[in-house]
C-alpha cells in the first residue's frame, strides 16, 4: 500500500513537472496562432480580438492552473483550428492510431526478440554478423525512403500494385489488412534494427552470467538455455522497453506513416497542432502522454515483481 501511494505521489509530481515544462515551452516558443486565424486585411483591433479569444493575454499562472483543471476534469476544450471538441478528436483518432501501430509494434518487437536471441546465441558467427549488419543497415535508412519505396513497390503500377497507396476505409478485417499491411511493413523495417540491436545486447549480457554457464554445464539444450534462462532473466529490460514504448505508440502515433498513408490518426493531429500552435490539442496530448507514462510505470513495477521476485 505504501509503495502504491509513493508511486502515485511520484506520478503526480511527474505529471506536474511534464505539464509545466511543456506548457512553458508552448507559451514561450510555440507559434502565436493569432496570425493564422485572422483573415485577410485584418485590422489591429481584429488581431487584438483574436489574441484575446485565444487567451494569450491572460497571466501564465492562470492559464497553467486552468490547464491542470482541464486535465483533472477531462474537459479538454475545443481545438482553436477546427472548433471540434478535443475529446471528440481523441476519441476519433486514438483507435485509428492504435489499430495502425499495434501490428507493427508487436511484430517488430517479437521479431526483434527472436533475431536478438539468435544473434546473441551465435555471437561472433556469420549469422550474428549478418543480423547485426542488417540491423545497422535498417537503422541507417531514412523512414521516409522506406515508406516511399514500399509504396512504389507494393502499391503502384510501377511495382506489384497489390495494396492501396493510402487511405483508411476500414470496414472489415480484410479491408483492415489491406490498409495496414504496407504501413506495418514500413514500421517493422524501421524499428526492427533498433529492436534487434537492443535485445541482442540484453541477451548477450545475460548469456555471460554465471547461472547460464552453470546451466550449460548441466547440459541444458540451447533452446532451454535461451528461452528458459536467458529470456526469462532478461524480462525486466525487455518489459521496460516494450511498456515505455506504448504511450508513444498510442498517443503520439507515427506522423510520417499517417501523413504518407493518409491515415487520420493522432500523430497527424498532434503534428498539425504543433506547427499551428493549437494549444488545446497540444495540452491534451502532452497531458495524456504524461498520465500514460505514470500508469505504465505503475504497471511496469507490478510486472517487475512478477518476473523477478528479487525486486519484491
Amino acid at each position: 500500500m505504501r509503495t502504491i501511494l509513493q508511486q502515485i505521489i511520484r506520478g503526480l509530481l511527474l505529471i506536474l513537472g511534464v505539464t509545466f515544462v511543456s506548457f512553458l515551452l508552448m507559451v514561450w516558443f510555440g507559434p502565436d496562432q493569432t496570425y493564422t486565424l485572422i483573415g485577410k486585411n485584418a485590422t489591429a483591433d481584429q488581431i487584438a480580438e483574436v489574441h484575446h479569444q485565444l487567451g494569450y493575454d491572460r497571466p501564465f499562472s492562470q492559464r497553467y492552473l486552468d490547464y491542470l483543471g482541464e486535465l483533472f476534469t477531462l474537459d479538454l476544450g475545443t481545438s482553436n483550428s477546427s472548433g471540434e471538441q478535443v475529446s471528440s478528436i481523441l476519441k476519433r483518432t486514438l483507435p485509428v492510431s492504435l489499430a495502425l501501430m499495434l501490428p507493427g509494434f508487436i511484430i517488430g518487437n517479437l521479431l526483434g526478440v527472436v533475431l536478438g536471441m539468435i544473434a546473441a546465441f551465435r555471437k561472433g558467427t556469420w549469422s550474428d554478423r549478418l543480423i547485426t549488419g542488417l540491423s545497422v543497415s535498417g537503422m541507417s535508412i531514412s523512414f521516409l525512403i522506406i515508406i516511399i519505396a514500399l509504396q512504389v513497390l507494393l502499391s503502384t503500377p510501377y511495382g506489384l500494385n497489390l495494396f492501396p497507396v493510402r487511405g483508411w476505409h476500414v470496414e472489415d478485417l480484410s479491408s483492415y489488412l489491406a490498409y495496414v499491411t504496407v504501413p506495418t511493413l514500413s514500421l517493422i523495417m524501421v524499428t526492427l534494427g533498433y529492436n534487434t540491436r537492443f535485445y541482442r545486447a540484453v541477451f548477450v549480457a545475460e548469456s555471460s552470467r554465471e547461472h547460464i554457464l552453470t546451466a550449460r554445464a548441466f547440459g541444458a539444450s540451447p533452446a532451454t538455455l535461451m528461452w528458459r534462462h536467458v529470456l526469462k532473466n532478461s524480462l525486466v529490460p525487455v518489459t521496460t522497453r516494450i511498456l515505455f514504448s506504448i504511450p508513444l505508440v498510442v498517443i503520439s502515433g507515427s506522423l510520417l506513416i499517417e501523413t504518407y498513408f493518409g491515415i487520420p490518426g493522432i500523430g497527424k493531429v498532434s503534428f498539425d497542432a504543433i506547427t499551428s500552435g493549437d494549444q488545446p490539442i497540444l495540452k491534451a496530448v502532452v497531458g495524456l502522454t504524461a498520465v500514460s507514462f505514470v500508469l505504465v510505470q505503475i504497471v511496469a513495477d507490478f510486472i517487475y515483481r512478477l518476473v523477478d521476485p528479487r525486486i519484491a
Binding site: 502565436d32 496562432q33 493569432t34 496570425y35 493564422t36 485572422i38 483573415g39 485577410k40 486585411n41 485584418a42 485590422t43 488581431i47 480580438e49 483574436v50 479569444q53 475545443t78 481545438s79 483550428s81 477546427s82 472548433g83 471540434e84 471538441q85 471528440s88 476519433r92 483518432t93 501490428p103 521479431l111 516511399i148 509504396q151 512504389v152 502499391s155 503502384t156 503500377p157 506489384l160 500494385n161 497489390l162 495494396f163 492501396p164 497507396v165 493510402r166 487511405g167 483508411w168 476505409h169 478485417l173 480484410s174 489488412l177 489491406a178 490498409y179 499491411t181 504518407y260 498513408f261 493518409g262 491515415i263 487520420p264 497527424k268 493531429v269 498539425d272 506547427t275 499551428s276 500552435g277
Partner: protein, 608 residues
C-alpha cells in the same frame, strides 16, 4: 493472386504473408467496392481544418464549403472569362441607379438538409433572414470569422452593429430581409465587387439553429442546403454524399457558357439536361506530400490531381506547346491553367534601410537600390528552376488571369539588366562597403532556402556581397505572417490568390490605408496611387477603370516597391471516363456538382 503462393514459406515471410493475404484479396478493391453508386475522388494538396463558412479562408475549406452550403451566386461552370450566375438567388440583383441598393430574391422550395437542429430533424426552407444572419456572423466576435474584410465599411450600419455588441436581435439598416424571400443590401458607397463576394464560401448561408446547437463544432457538423452533405471529415480527407433534397435544375451547356471549340473533348454534351449533382459521392483526399499524391493517382485511387511540379518531367512531353506524355494522354484529360494569383517579393517600404526615408536624398538612394535589386533579379531563371519554365512572368501587380491584365504592356521591368542595375548603384553612391544588410524572410523549407540562395547569387552579379544578404527564417507561416504584419521583415515573399476576377483585389495590396497589419505588406504609400484607387473603387468594370488600374500598376513598377511577379501554371489531370472540367480558381469547388461519369449519366436519366 498467384504471387502470394510463390513466396518461399520461411517462417519470417509467412508472418508477412499473413498480413499480405488479406491485402491480396482486397487491396485494390478498396476504391471499387462503391461501384454500385457513382463516386468522384478528388485530391487536394492541402487540408482544411474548419468547414464553417465564416472561417473558410483557405481554398481547401472554400472548396468544401460551397458544396455543403449555398451561396447566392456562383460563376458559370464553363464560361471564360468568368461570368456571374445566380445560384440560390433567383436572378441577378436589382440595383438602384446610384449603385447603393441591391435587392435580391432567393429561390423558393430550397431546404436545409435534415439535421437534429431542426424540429423533428426535418430541414426547413432557406429564407432571406438566413442570409442576413450569415453575413452578420462575420461581425460577431464569437464567430471568430475571417471574412469580415469583404463587407467591412461597405454595408450601412454593419460596422456599427458590431461596435454596439453584435446583438443578433438588432437590425442592421443596410442588411435586411424585406420578406421571406427578399434580401436588401444597402451600401455606404458603390461596391462593384459586391456580387463577387457573394459567390464565396464566406457568404454561404448557415441556419441560425445550427450555429446555436453546435456552437464551434459547426465546423465539423455542416448544416447547409448545398448539393452535398458531409459524411465524414478528418485530417486525411472528407467524404460528401449527394443532398437528395437539392433543388432540381437541369444542366444547360448554353447557360453555363459552353464553348464547343475548346471544350467538346471533355464529353460534357452527355450531361445536357441532367440534374446536378451528378455524383452520389465525392471523396476528397488531402495529400500534401507530392510523392504520395502522385502514387495514389497513378495507382488509380484518385480521379483528379493537380500534378506536382516535381512530377512535371514525368507528365509533360513538351513545354511549348504544353503536351502530355502519350502514355498519360491515353488515360487522362489534361488542362494547363494559370493560377488565379501570383508570387511576388515586396520591399518593406516602412524599413528606412530600403524603403521610404525622410531625407529626400536617402529616399532617392533607397529607390535606386530597390530598382537595382529588381533589375538584377532574373525571372527567367526563377521560372526555369522552380516552376519548370512554364509559369507566366509579368510586370507589376495585375496578374494574367485578371480581366484587366494588359498582355501588351512594357516588359522592361521583368527583364534582367545588370548594366542598368550597376549604374543605378554607382550613380547613387552605393558600393559593396555601404550597401545595407538585406534580410529575406521565408518559412523554413528546402525550396524556400534554394530560392534564397538563388536570389543571393543574382545579387552577387551586381556586386552585392553575399555576406550582406541574410535569410530570416520562420518555422511556420503563422510566425512569418506575424513578423511581416508587424513590419519586421525587410523583403517579404508571399503569394496572393485572388478572391474574385477583378484586379482591384491585387491592386488593393498596395493601397496605403491597407498597410500592415492589412494586406499591403509592402506598406507602400503613394499619394497618386491612393487617389486613383479611391477614384476607381466605386467604378463598375469599364475601359476607363481598366485604364486607371493599369496606371496604378505602372506607378508601383516605377517606384520599385515589389519584385513581381509570376503566376504559376497548374497542370490538372483527370480520368478520361469523367465528364467534367475542373477548376482551381474562381469557380473552385462549385464544379463538383457538375462532375459526371458515364454510369452516373445513365442513373441520372433514370431518376428523371
Amino acid at each position: 493472386m498467384t504471387w502470394c503462393k510463390k513466396i518461399p514459406a520461411s517462417w519470417l515471410l509467412r508472418l508477412v504473408l499473413l498480413l499480405a493475404l488479406g491485402g491480396c484479396d482486397v487491396g485494390k478493391q478498396a476504391t471499387s467496392t462503391k461501384d454500385s453508386y457513382t463516386v468522384y475522388r478528388h485530391s487536394m494538396d492541402g487540408a482544411p481544418s474548419n468547414l464553417d463558412p465564416a472561417r473558410a479562408s483557405h481554398i481547401y475549406a472554400n472548396f468544401l464549403a460551397v458544396n455543403l452550403y449555398d451561396t447566392l451566386y456562383r460563376y458559370k461552370y464553363l464560361a471564360r472569362p468568368y461570368e456571374l450566375e445566380p445560384n440560390l438567388a433567383e436572378n441577378l440583383p436589382q440595383v438602384s441607379s446610384d449603385g447603393l441598393i441591391y435587392t435580391i430574391r432567393i429561390k423558393t422550395g430550397v431546404h436545409f438538409i435534415d439535421d437534429p437542429v431542426f424540429p423533428q430533424g426535418k430541414g426547413r426552407p432557406v429564407n432571406a433572414q438566413d442570409f442576413v444572419y450569415s453575413i452578420k456572423r462575420h461581425f460577431d466576435p464569437a464567430t471568430g470569422a475571417q471574412g469580415a474584410w469583404l463587407w467591412q465599411n461597405r454595408i450601412l450600419g454593419l460596422d456599427e452593429w458590431k461596435k454596439n455588441g453584435s446583438d443578433h436581435g438588432q437590425e442592421v439598416t443596410g442588411l435586411r430581409a424585406l420578406d421571406y424571400r427578399t434580401i436588401q443590401i444597402q451600401l455606404i458607397s458603390p461596391y462593384p465587387q459586391l456580387l463577387h463576394t457573394l459567390t464565396q464560401g464566406f457568404s454561404a448561408i448557415v441556419p441560425r439553429e445550427a450555429v446555436e446547437f453546435y456552437g464551434r463544432e459547426l465546423a465539423v457538423h455542416p448544416v447547409g442546403s448545398g448539393p452535398y452533405r458531409l459524411a465524414s471529415f478528418n485530417t486525411a480527407g472528407a467524404v460528401m454524399v449527394r443532398n437528395t433534397g437539392f433543388r432540381q435544375e437541369p444542366f444547360s451547356l448554353a447557360n453555363e457558357g459552353y464553348n464547343p471549340a475548346l471544350q467538346s473533348k471533355y464529353g460534357l454534351e452527355h450531361l445536357e439536361g441532367l440534374l446536378p449533382p451528378f455524383m452520389d459521392r465525392i471523396e476528397v483526399e488531402f495529400i500534401a506530400e507530392d510523392a504520395a499524391r502522385w502514387n495514389a493517382f497513378i495507382a488509380g485511387e484518385l480521379d483528379f490531381i493537380k500534378a506536382p511540379v516535381s512530377q512535371f518531367d514525368q507528365v509533360l512531353q513538351s513545354r511549348d506547346p504544353l503536351m502530355l506524355k502519350p502514355t498519360l494522354a491515353d488515360e487522362f484529360h489534361f488542362q494547363a491553367s494559370l493560377e488565379s494569383g501570383f508570387v511576388h517579393t515586396d520591399f518593406n517600404m516602412d524599413d528606412r534601410r530600403i524603403g521610404y526615408h525622410p531625407d529626400p536624398v536617402q529616399n532617392a538612394r533607397n529607390k535606386a537600390l530597390r530598382c537595382a535589386i529588381s533589375k538584377a533579379f532574373d525571372w527567367e531563371k526563377r521560372n526555369e528552376i522552380f516552376y519548370y519554365g512554364i509559369g507566366q512572368v509579368f510586370p507589376g501587380i495585375i496578374p494574367p488571369l485578371a480581366p484587366e491584365f494588359d498582355p501588351d504592356q512594357d516588359r522592361t521591368a521583368i527583364k534582367r539588366d545588370l548594366n542598368t542595375a550597376r549604374h543605378l548603384l554607382r550613380n547613387h553612391g552605393w558600393n559593396a562597403g555601404n550597401l545595407p544588410e538585406l534580410e529575406i524572410g521565408f518559412t523554413s523549407s528546402v525550396t524556400e532556402r534554394q530560392m534564397f540562395e538563388q536570389f543571393r547569387s543574382f545579387m552577387a552579379d551586381i556586386g552585392y556581397p553575399r555576406n550582406k544578404i541574410h535569410p530570416l527564417t520562420f518555422a511556420t507561416y503563422g510566425d512569418y505572417a506575424q513578423a511581416f504584419l508587424n513590419r519586421e521583415v525587410m523583403l517579404i515573399t508571399t503569394g496572393w490568390t485572388m478572391d474574385y476576377p477583378d484586379a482591384e483585389n491585387t491592386i488593393q495590396l498596395f493601397y496605403g490605408p491597407n498597410a500592415s497589419p492589412g494586406s499591403n505588406t509592402a506598406n507602400y504609400n503613394n499619394e497618386e496611387f491612393n487617389r486613383l484607387y479611391r477614384a476607381s473603387a466605386t467604378m463598375q468594370a469599364s475601359p476607363i477603370r481598366t485604364t486607371i488600374y493599369r496606371k496604378m500598376n505602372r506607378i508601383v513598377i516605377e517606384d520599385c516597391a515589389t519584385i513581381s511577379g509570376i503566376s504559376r501554371k497548374l497542370i490538372l489531370l483527370w480520368n478520361r471516363d469523367l465528364a467534367m472540367l475542373p477548376d482551381r480558381s474562381f469557380l473552385g469547388g462549385h464544379f463538383f456538382r457538375f462532375a459526371g461519369r458515364g454510369e452516373s449519366n445513365e442513373k441520372n436519366k433514370a431518376r428523371q
